[in-house]
Every structure is written in C-alpha cells, then in structure tokens.
C-alpha cells in the first residue's frame, strides 16, 4: 500500500502522521499482539490508522481495485447519468423527426433503433442502476457502517453493468443497435424476423444489467438486515433504507423472470430451440408474460427508491419527523407486493380470458391506495412543519403534481375498455413518461441537490437549481401533455412519420418545443454540477440540518465513513438524543478493515466482520463473463468453453491470502 507523497489524507491529516500510523500498524500486525482499536474521535491515533487502513492505493491500479461503496456508488450514478443524457439525445432526434409531418431527418430503420435504444437505455442502463447506485452510496452511511456487505461483489456488479451498457452502444454505433422495442417482443426479436445480431446484443445487455441488479440487490438487502448501527431496530430505520430494502426484495423476485426470458430467446436464436416458435409447439405470449412479470415490478423498483428520496427530503425541509412513519413503511411494503399482481395490464390487447383481465384491473386500481396513503402523510408532514423551500423540496413538489397526473391516467388505462382504445398510442407514451419522469426523475434531481453536499463537500447553486426546476417542469408538461391528446386522436407510438392530413402536426411541434426546453434544463444542471464541483460553497457536515446518520460524518465522508460507528436511540439520531444511551461503538480494529454485524430485528451487536480487501479480480471476472456471453453468441461451444475463464477468475477472487489469514487470526475470537 503506497501513499502518494505530499498529499493530504481524506480525513484532512498531513501525510507524515499517516505514515507514522502505518508503521504502528505494521508493528502491531507483525506480532506485538496489541491491536489499535477505534472508538476515539477525529484526529486520534485510531482515526489516523483507520484512514490509512481504508484508503485506496493511488493511481490506476487503486482505481481499478477499489471496493469502496462510495466510489462505486458515485461511478454508478455518474455512468447512469451520462447514459441518461445519451438516451435523451436519441429522444431529441426522434422529436426532431416528428416535429412536422412527412419529415425525413431519419429513416424508418434508424428510427426503430432510436426508440429501442432510448427505452432500453432509460430503463435498464439509467433508471434501475442509478437508483441502485444511490443505494450503494447512501445505505451504508444511513445505517451507520463502513462498507457494503459484499464490497467485491458491488465492484464486480459495476463492471458488468458498464461493459454491458458499452456493448449495447457499441452495437448501435456499428448499425447493430437493438430495434425491437425496449420489451423486445418475439417473434420480432426471434430468429425468424430479428435478423443480424441486433437482438443478441440486447439479450446480452439484459443478462449483464440484470446480473448487476441482482448482485447489488442482495448486497444492499444484506447491509440493511445485518449491518445497521447498534440500536437501529427496524422501527428506527430511515425511510430511504426501507425503500431500498423493499426495492431490493422486489428485484430479487422479479429480475430472474426477464433473465430467463432473454436466455430462452437467445437459445431460440443460438441453439434453435422452439420456446417462441408456434410451428413447433412454442408460444409467443409466454414472452410477454415473462417480460411483464418483471417489467411491471421494474416500474415500481424504480419508483420506490424515489419515494424513499421524497420521504427523506420532506422531513428535513419541513423541520419535523415524518407524519405517519409506520404508515409510510407499510405503504412501501404493500406497494412492493401489489406490484407483482399487475403485469397483465400490459397485455390487455392479447387474447387472454376477460375474467382474468378484470382481476388485473382491480389490482391496478388497488395500488393507488398505498400511494395515496403516502401522499397524505407527506402533505400532513408539510402542513404541520416549518417549510424551508429549497431546491430539493421544489423538485418534490413538482413530483407531486406530475405523479398525480400520471397516476390518474394510470387508473384510466388500467380499465380494459379504455386501454383497448388507446393501446399502443401516444396516450400510453404520455402516461409512462408522466409516471417515470414525474415519479422517478423529479425526485432524483431533488436527491442530487440534497445529497450533492455529502457526495462532494460542496453545495449546488440554488439559483441555477431554481431555473433548472422551472425549465424542467414547464418543458416536461409542454412536451408530454400534448401526447395525451395525440393518443386520443389516434396517433400510434413507434411510427417514424405521419401524413399532414392527420392534423397531428401542431401538437407534435409543441411537444418538440417542450423537448428542447427539457434539454436546456438538463444542460443547466450539467453546468451547475461542473461549476459547483470546482467552486461551490463549502457544505460542512450537515448543511440542511437533517436528522439521519449520513450527516453525522464529514462531507465527503472519509474512506472509513465514521470515525466510530454510531449507536442509535431514535429515528432521527441527529435530532433526538437519549441521555442515557451510549453514543458510539468502540473496539473495532483500526488496522484492518473491520465492521460490525448486528441482529435483524433489534440491531444488537452480534459479530465483528472483516471486510475483504480491494482486489482486481472482480474486474477480471466481469470481463471474462462478458467475453463468455459474446463468445456464446458467435458459436454454441462458447457457451461451455467460455465458462472456464470466469471460473478461474472467481476462484482467484475467493482464494484467501496468507496475509489476510494472519490478520484474521490476530483478531480471531470463536463464536
């Protein structure tokens, strides 16, 4: 572990002292038997040792090896945001094409790739990963621990995601962009009609991003259930953590469905199986069932973390604890369950039994109940609080307006007869953008403004933020509200152009103007981001005066998160402190990466946990898995020979080193 000369450590400590701490550590581990333990405050010897223990190596190798949840979380967020911008540019091209009748900015084949790439990128490469990335960054801080439960797996998940996303876009660049819509229905994406390698690239992306999603979900769920700060019983768990837990559980049960579907489709393409081939006993509708059994819950595991953002931002800016905390938790859980009973409402235009469809209509209406319960709790919190109308809260208020509109059209399309009228029309396009942008992107921007100080140590500019909000709010409604009308007038989605005689030209032009305004608003955010990163106002530990644990440490947090793990005695530990309770944990090794495992319900301290060290193997494993997938697309034997390199990488990842074992034995106590 080499420290770069002349630098200052993350805790703001000059390096010579850090080097002294390193010598101390070397002495201790070498056999004096005395281990330096944490528990003292900032600037203590233990803090210096912690800093040395947890800091990544500098340089490229350190960058490649890191398993620090903050670095990986930031990578997720930045990568996903860049793909959000890229997919937004595709949307802008589509809006240019549709701005006037009989337009020829792009041709039909390229247009197919445009809307497929836009939808696929927004759903699989932007929305899910960015929500999980925020969780990777925030959850360990909010529950008061030093890293995720499986830090190497988090790292591997990121690399799988990045390589998958790049491969999809590389395909697009060489005219092999997916073109069968973001839900890739068969037979259009099957071997008969999906010629070339376009659908293969899409199937690989699904495998890689869903593997990422599942790995991160297991990781986050484990952190939440087993690594909460002592005293943070389930009753005291912050609402964003609850939302992340519910979303993770949903991912665990929903994502296998789309992975299975994508693999069956790929088997049809590579091995000539007949799952979706009616001529040989297959069936195409089963694709839709498998896809939407994932696809509908997906909307909710994008939406639920966003609800978590809202429920975190509102109490902070209303200056009071959440009204109906338990009701909000129960609503999140109820939403998680109900979301699995809705998938057929995407299939109302198929020949399923009518009685079955009415069940799904009822379920679709029912999910409005927990959402409404939360909205009432938020209103009550704001009503009885002392409101401070900063940018994060502004985005939350925008979310209210737009989500309610999107929810109302959702109830409309949840009814079979109405859905049959507007199915595959722009009404659905309007509805889904109201729900997804209103329900997820508005809270996400609010969350960016809220947590940017924690991520970077600096504030985003408030004035630019207000401009961005109003441009986004107005631009969004100008772009998407006319689509309701276009849909009712009969304009189908996914057409590359339309005739002047349809009379859709004016509304389409208005929608395009709205898209330009949205683009300007996003650009303003990028400007604000870059400027504030360099010279934004310094934030301090807790600029908003918030009550949750991520604000109990420095901004940005040091590599070890907390100088001593906190002990919690209330829901808002920074607001309410019980007089007679311990305030922090002591006795974890400051010379090795050690954490604390607590019990599931009451978060009683149970076992110490030594985190795995950073290594390059998760990266190598991810690369070999990607090679395996593409190899198996080219030749069927790649399916099994290609498994050998990942197997080697995973074994090397696991194999314990002598140094780790020596450290482990030094600290070992039997259960």
């Amino acid at each position: 572990m080499s420290a770069d000369a002349g630098s200052v450590s993350a805790a703001g400590v000059p390096l010579e002292r850090s080097q002294r701490a390193r010598r101390k550590r070397a002495d201790a581990v070498a056999g004096s038997g005395e281990v330096l333990r944490d528990g003292a405050g900032w600037g203590s010897r233990a803090a210096l040792a912690l800093d040395h223990t947890w800091r990544d190596e500098s340089g490229f190798i350190g960058w490649l090896r890191t398993n620090d949840h903050k670095r990986i979380g930031k990578r997720f967020v930045v990568t996903a945001f860049l793909f959000f911008c890229a997919a937004g540019i595709l949307a802008a091209v589509m809006r240019m094409q549709l701005a006037s009748p009989d337009n020829h900015v792009v041709g039909p084949d390229f247009y197919d790739q445009l809307f497929t790439m836009h939808g696929t990128t927004m759903m699989f490469i932007f929305a899910v990963p960015i929500m999980q990335g925020m969780g990777v960054y925030l959850v360990p801080l909010m529950v008061g621990t030093r890293n995720t439960a499986f830090p190497r797996m988090t790292a591997c998940a990121y690399w799988l995601y990045l390589l998958g996303a790049l491969s999809l876009w590389f395909g697009f660049a060489i005219n092999t962009g997916a073109d069968a819509g973001w839900f890739a229905y068969v037979p259009l994406a099957g071997p008969q009609y999906g010629i070339g390698k376009r659908a293969d690239v899409w199937n690989n992306l699904i495998n890689l991003t869903e593997a990422m999603g599942l790995m991160v979900a297991v990781d986050i769920a484990t952190v939440i259930l087993k690594m909460r700060a002592p005293g943070m019983s389930l009753r005291r768990m912050p609402l964003f953590v609850w939302a992340s837990l519910v979303a993770s559980m949903m991912i665990i049960f929903a994502m296998p469905s789309v992975m299975l579907a994508a693999n069956l489709a790929q088997f049809d393409r590579t091995f000539s199986t007949h799952f979706f081939n009616p001529a040989e006993g297959g069936d195409v509708l089963i694709w839709q069932h498998l896809f939407w059994f994932f696809g509908h819950p997906e909307v909710y595991f994008i939406f639920i973390p966003a609800l978590g953002f809202v429920s975190t931002i509102i109490p902070t800016f209303a200056r009071r604890p959440m009204f109906g905390h338990s009701a909000v938790v129960l609503s999140l859980i109820a939403t998680g369950f109900l979301a699995f009973g809705l998938w057929v409402h995407h299939m109302f235009a198929t020949n399923l039994p009518e009685l079955g469809k009415s069940f799904f209509t009822a379920m679709s209406f029912m999910i409005a109940i927990p959402t409404a319960a939360q909205i009432f709790c938020w209103i009550a919190t704001l009503w009885t609080g002392r409101i401070s109308l900063r940018v994060p809260l502004l985005f939350v208020l925008g979310f209210f307006a737009i989500l309610v509109l999107g929810g109302l059209t959702g109830i409309m399309v949840g009814a079979v007869p109405f859905d049959l009228q507007v199915h595959d029309s722009y009404f659905v396009v309007a509805h889904l953008h109201y729900v997804l942008i209103g329900g997820a992107v508005f809270p996400l921007f609010g969350a960016f403004f809220y947590w940017f100080p924690k991520f970077t140590g600096r504030m985003l500019d408030e004035r630019l933020g207000r401009w961005q909000f109003w441009l986004f709010f107005v631009g969004f409604n100008v772009a998407f509200f006319p689509m309701h009308m276009l849909g009712l007038q009969g304009m189908p989605r996914r057409i590359y152009t339309y005739g002047a005689e349809t009379g859709w030209g004016t509304l389409n032009l208005i929608a395009t103007i709205g898209a330009v305004v949205i683009a300007a608003s996003v650009l303003l955010f990028v400007v604000n981001f870059v400027r504030s990163l360099a010279k934004g106002a310094l934030a301090g530990d807790n600029p908003w005066g918030a009550g949750t644990l991520e604000w109990a440490t420095h901004s940005p947090p040091p590599a070890f998160n907390f100088v001593a793990l906190p002990v919690v005695a209330s829901r808002e530990p920074l607001w309410v402190r019980e007089a007679d309770e311990p305030t922090h944990v002591s006795g974890l090794s400051a010379q090795t990466r050690e954490g604390l495992v607590t019990t599931v319900l009451d978060a009683l301290p149970d076992v110490r946990y030594s985190y795995p060290s950073p290594t390059v193997w998760p990266f190598i494993a991810a690369v070999t898995v990607v090679i395996w997938l593409f190899w198996s697309n080219i030749t069927p034997s790649g399916m099994y020979y290609g498994l050998i390199p990942p197997a080697i990488a995973f074994v090397a990842w696991y194999w314990p080193s002598r140094k780790e074992t020596a450290e482990e034995l030094l600290l070992q106590r039997r259960p």
Binding site: A217, M227, F275, S586, G587, L596, V607, P671
Partner: protein, 234 residues
C-alpha cells in the same frame, strides 16, 4: 451448533499433526464475550470475529442467491406447463425420458445429504479432521451425481431443437445442471482450501455455507425431477 464457548473446553481429537495445529489455534483464539458499555461507548472488541448460520453475512448472500435461482426454477417450471397446455405433442414421438438415471440421481442426491450434514456439523464443531473426511466423501458423491447427470441427458429421448417440448426439457435439466456444476466447483475449491490453503475460523464457515447451498441443489432437484420425468407422463 453445539460450539464450545470456552477456550479451554476444546475436546482433544487424537494426536495427528493437524489436530495439534488445530488445538494450538483454538488456544490462541479466545471465546467471545458480548458487547459491553464503557462510558459513552459500546465496546465490541471481544465479540466473535465470525459466526455460523444467520450470524454470517455470507449466509444471507447465499440465501439471496438461492431465492434468485429458485425463482428461476419456478418460472421455468411454469413455462414448461404453460407450453404443455398449448401443445398437442407433449412428449413428442420419442416418448418421455427414461426413468432409470433420473431416479438413480434422485436417490444419490438424497444420500448426498448425509456427508453434507456431517461436513456441516464438523465445521460447526471446528473439527478439521472430520471436515476433511466428509468433504472428500461429499466430493465423491458429487462426482457420481455429475456422471449420472451426463447419462440422464442421453436418455431424454428428445433433442432440444426437435420441438418446444424438447427445448423445455433440456433447459430445465440444463438449469439444474448449471447449478450442480457451480456448487460442485465451489465444493472442490472449499475442499482444496481446507487441505491446502491458509486456515482460520472463517474457513469453517465457508464449509458450512457450501453445505447450505448444497441443500438448495438437493431440494430443487426434487421438483425438477418430478417435472422432467413425470410431467410428460401425467
């Protein structure tokens, strides 16, 4: 399970060299005591540095992965019966798979639970000698299971590209085989570490968790066997 909580109560296991090493390690690793209050702090220095079962984070990771894989099996079985309900040719001309090898494997899988349970128990007792013995027995069982699985594929009486029936049977059995092979490879690695690698208490947890994942392989084999072999017969 009945782990001794006192460092001095470790039972003697004979005089083989590894037992001496084991005993030395036991003596150098004192048993844990709960967290204690010291002023404003909660001192956790003497908590155990690892734990078995739900006390281990990896148990939760394995449980999550089992939920994911289990969901995959459940959905594939649903897909099997969905396709069956749509197809006139189920099974196709070749008839259903021969019962022999699949049933043999069902028996083997159930029997493999014995070395699995014993390896798990030995790991919980920190009994290195027994861990090694039962892991070796277990690895032999696994090899037999894999061999018989190969024979199963030869007795399916249908190719994967013959019809949707063939595709469903091959993928269902293939999915289970993929899990079987990965867990078998896991077991080999864990066995190699137990014989060769640097050892500490956490490696016993690895053995126990590997045994836990094997339960998933055995328990999923029962419904998958039922569907592959009896699905076309009902």
């Amino acid at each position: 399970m009945n782990t001794s909580r006192s460092p001095t109560a470790a039972p003697a296991d004979g005089d083989a060299p590894e037992d001496k090493a084991m005993r030395r390690r036991r003596q150098s690793t004192p048993a844990s005591i709960p967290a204690v209050r010291r002023g404003d702090a909660l001192d956790v220095a003497n908590l155990p540095s690892y734990g078995f079962g739900t006390r281990s984070l990896m148990w939760w990771g394995t449980a999550g992965m089992s939920a994911i894989e289990g969901m995959g099996f459940a959905l594939m079985i649903v897909a099997y019966f969905y396709l069956k309900s749509r197809s006139h040719l189920w099974p196709n001309e070749g008839g259903p798979p021969d019962l022999l090898w699949g049933t043999v494997n069902l028996g083997l899988a159930c029997l493999s639970a014995i070395p699995n349970v014993l390896a798990d128990k030995a790991a919980n007792d920190h009994d290195l000698r027994k861990v090694r013995i039962w892991l070796v027995v277990f690895v032999i069982f696994g090899l037999a299971l894999l061999g018989v699985r190969w024979l199963e594929f030869t007795a399916l009486n249908v190719r994967w590209d013959a019809s949707a029936y063939g595709s469903a049977v091959w993928v269902l059995l293939g999915l289970h085989t993929f899990n079987l092979v990965t867990n078998y490879a896991d077991s080999l690695v864990v066995a190699a570490v137990v014989f060769k690698g640097p050892l500490d208490g956490k490696r016993f947890v690895d053995v126990a968790e590997n045994a836990g994942y094997w339960w998933f392989i055995v328990l999923t084999w029962i419904p998958v066997y039922a569907v592959v072999y009896w699905g076309p017969r009902v």
